[in-house]
């Protein structure tokens, strides 16, 4: 019975194609999700633009001013070089130092957050959800709060950056640890190795290259985060940039911005280079 119903339909299809002389190229069971998604995005964007109610004409009329500012920024003023360099060094130091502290904390918390190491599910879930919360709040917010607690200085910068970086590392390291095969773990378990020892001797070496990759990626982010921290009130190069811009010292601000670009670019290149090697 099924055969009878199938055959005529194919014959009919064939004859229809012959009649129009066209082979259908479109895929019948295409993913219809993408067009719907795109429509949704367009509708949301239009609604957002209407809601924001930006005065485009006013904005456009001021565009020539942007050119003037860039022109001023390009007239480098080398008189404040020593301050710019020392604050740049401070920014880089804060970024690196917070990265190192977070690396240690991230490995420790990642060990707890990974489900396969201590096998205490409630502790893993608790750790993960706590760090999801910490990660969801942008870094400058943490730094602002640290500034309130600890006062001005590098401590607030390092501690504030550490919050977000540790949260990021915990999540990504836990993921790397969980991807290690259960066979390895089991083989060590039957020999009676303690859980901590399994972690140090089997899990950590296996995840090492991934840890390096995550660290490199985070250094990039940490530097740019650190560069903007000054703008919300902490020290470093961000403070130099915002102060100089507000005082119309465009020459010095231009150098500082250029320096931020150069350092960020060097870190990015370095990271690409290391990633290729691993």
């Amino acid at each position: 019975m099924t055969d009878e119903s199938v055959i005529p339909s194919t014959v009919r299809n064939n004859s229809a194609e012959k009649a129009s002389n066209k082979i259908p190229v479109g895929c019948k069971d295409k993913n219809t999700f993408v067009p719907r998604f795109l429509t949704g995005v367009v509708v949301l964007t239009v609604l957002s633009l209407i809601y924001l109610n930006i005065d485009w004409l006013k904005l456009l009329s001021r565009v020539p001013d942007v050119g003037v500012v860039f022109w001023d920024l390009a007239h480098f003023d080398f008189s404040d070089m020593d301050i710019i360099f020392s604050s740049m060094l401070e920014t880089v130091s804060i970024a690196v130092l917070s990265l190192l502290y977070s690396l240690i904390l991230g490995i420790a918390f990642g060990m707890i957050a990974a489900r396969n190491i201590f096998k205490i599910t409630w502790l893993s879930v608790l750790t993960q959800s706590f760090f999801t919360f910490l990660r969801a709040v942008p870094t400058p917010v943490w730094v602002l709060l640290m500034l309130v607690c600890l006062g001005m200085g590098s401590e607030a910068g390092v501690a504030g950056l550490c919050v977000h970086t540790t949260a990021f590392f915990t999540k990504s390291f836990a993921q790397s640890f969980e991807s290690i095969s259960d066979e390895t773990m089991e083989a060590l378990e039957v020999t009676g190795t303690s859980r901590l020892s399994i972690f140090i001797n089997a899990v950590l070496p296996a995840a090492f290259s991934q840890i390096v990759a995550w660290t490199g990626m985070r250094l990039e982010t940490n530097f740019s985060e650190c560069a903007i921290l000054g703008m919300v009130g902490a020290g470093g190069i961000g403070y130099v940039i915002s102060r100089n811009l507000q005082n119309y010292n465009y020459g010095s601000a231009g150098i500082a911005i250029l320096l931020v670009f150069i350092v960020a670019y060097v870190i990015e290149r370095l990271f690409v280079h290391i990633k290729k090697k691993i």
Binding site: F33, V34, F37, V41, V42, L44, T45, L47, S48, L49, Y51, L52, I54, D55, W56, K58, L59, R62, V63, D65, V66, V68, V69, F70, L73, L89, E90, V92, S93, V96, L97, L100, F133, A136, V137, P138, P140, V141, L144, L145, V148, C149, L150, S154, P205, F208, E225, I228, M231, V232, G238, I241, S242, L245, Y248, I257, V260, F261, A264, Y265
Partner: protein
């Protein structure tokens, strides 16, 4: 005499040693330079604890008359992120066509287009915001442009990588039969790269939600500005509930984009 068999390959061992040595040297150098001492934190820990328990907890709601304002500022932040990312994605799509040497009609210019995008990308969004504030004045429009610049530059890089990862056979065979540039784009590149593009677009929305909060803090409007004004006004308990609100907003958006990404890459 006992001969020990090394458990770790020598190559690997050397890599660990180098890694730890570099980390140690950096640690000492940077600690020395910034005068950062973990003990200072430990000494301040009681003040720290008092701050958390007294000023922060319990989170307090802002005055009832302020609540609609706070909620609408959240919508402003979301709207900023959404609209700037979409417009940046459309622009980045067209620019990335010219930034990839393999398909650009002007292969010699591709390097310069990419260089320009690298320049825009490596300057943080907040620095752009500050540069633009000093020329365009403070407001939502400027926050929009600042977010647009960085997400545009980021997506140009991501899109170019996506285009170059996809096999070039399709493009080549279309070229061989004499298809024009736009025909190649619509028939070969767009169908094979669209899902990759959309996945990057979703990632960029996640990033921009956070970035628009930060840009808001320095004058771009939205929930960042609200939070900043409460912190500056020493109303930490209200600030804490706004932090919770921001966290909830980010987590919800991350969940949604995660679901959508799975659906797209299926």
């Amino acid at each position: 005499m006992t001969k020990r068999i090394p458990l770790i390959a020598r190559e690997q061992k050397r890599m660990y040693t180098i890694f730890i040595a570099v980390a140690l040297v950096l640690f000492i150098a940077t600690s020395f330079y910034t005068n950062f001492n973990i003990m200072t934190l430990a000494q301040n820990s009681d003040a720290f604890w008092a701050f958390i328990t007294k000023d922060f907890f319990p989170p307090a709601l802002p005055k009832a008359s302020r609540i609609p304002g706070v909620l609408s500022s959240v919508v402003v932040t979301l709207a900023l992120a959404m609209s700037s990312t979409t417009i940046a994605a459309v622009l980045a799509f067209f620019v990335s066509l010219f930034a990839s040497e393999k398909i650009s009609p002007f292969p010699k210019l591709a390097k310069y287009v990419r260089g320009f995008a690298t320049f825009l990308r490596n300057i943080p969004a907040l620095v752009w915001a500050f540069i633009l504030f000093s020329s365009l004045g403070i407001g939502t429009g400027v926050g929009f442009v600042a977010l647009l610049i960085t997400s545009f530059a980021f997506m140009v890089r991501a899109f170019v990588e996506t285009i170059e990862d996809v096999s070039q056979d399709c493009v080549e065979s279309l070229q061989a039969v004499g298809a024009g540039f736009w025909q190649r784009v619509w028939q070969a590149i767009l169908p094979s790269c669209l899902n990759g593009f959309l996945s990057w677009f979703l990632y960029c929305i996640e990033v921009n939600i956070r970035a628009s909060t930060i840009v808001g803090m320095v004058g771009g409007g939205g929930v960042g500005l609200t939070l900043f004004s409460y912190i500056k006004g020493f109303q930490y308990d209200i600030a804490f509930s706004i932090i919770l609100l921001i966290a909830a907003m980010v987590i919800v958006v991350d969940r949604i984009t995660g679901k959508l990404r799975k659906e797209i890459l299926k």
